[in-house]
Symmetry: C2
Subunit: 110 residues, 2 copies
């Protein structure tokens, strides 16, 4: 069987954002939401490199958008979670929640 690997810190965040954006997740929207929600700044290339890695690991599926975008610019590449991606996200989420249990008070400090 496969050797178990773990999601990197950014990989996990990106999977979560893709999950939240449903069918509308593409490079720039993911990058923007990460900044807006948690202040995580990424260059475009950092986002794409990680997205591509997640695709090649089988955690994300991808497809090119329709070429008829209305407002100029290149076609979007959309991303969505695979079953394997959901499973990986679930596993790392469970581990984190387990380890955080009992320490939630720390989150409330100034």
């Amino acid at each position: 069987m496969n050797k178990t690997t773990y999601l990197g810190e950014l990989e996990q965040m990106i999977l979560l954002v893709v999950l939240g954006q449903g069918d509308d997740a593409y490079g720039i929207s993911i990058r923007n939401e990460l900044d807006k929600r948690v202040g995580r700044k990424l260059s475009r290339s950092a986002a794409y490199t990680t997205l591509e890695r997640l695709v090649s690991k089988g955690y994300l599926l991808t497809r090119m958008g329709d070429p008829d975008a209305r407002r100029g610019g290149r076609a979007k590449r959309y991303y969505g979670l695979s079953a394997k991606g959901r499973a990986a996200l679930r596993a790392s989420g469970r581990a984190l929640f387990e380890l955080w249990a009992g320490h939630e008070h720390l989150l409330e400090e100034a």
Copy 2:
């Protein structure tokens, strides 16, 4: 000011375990708890490498244990969170909880 960096996936888990173990956290106990609680297996050297990195970043403080251990073996090196370590942990915890919000149901799947 410092360029902002982020805790790696393992770094975060290790800080959480150190936080939980209070004054008793040392290399092997940390490694064992990670395995026991969340099934995360680490070689000893993987644990120490990461602990050392966290020390050099200023997230952990360390001291050698008393040399009078009762049951043989080398003296233990103990670890504890610094204020900076608590702050880093808080920041990454907040980001994770924010991104997980609304997706908790995923954690309950088979």
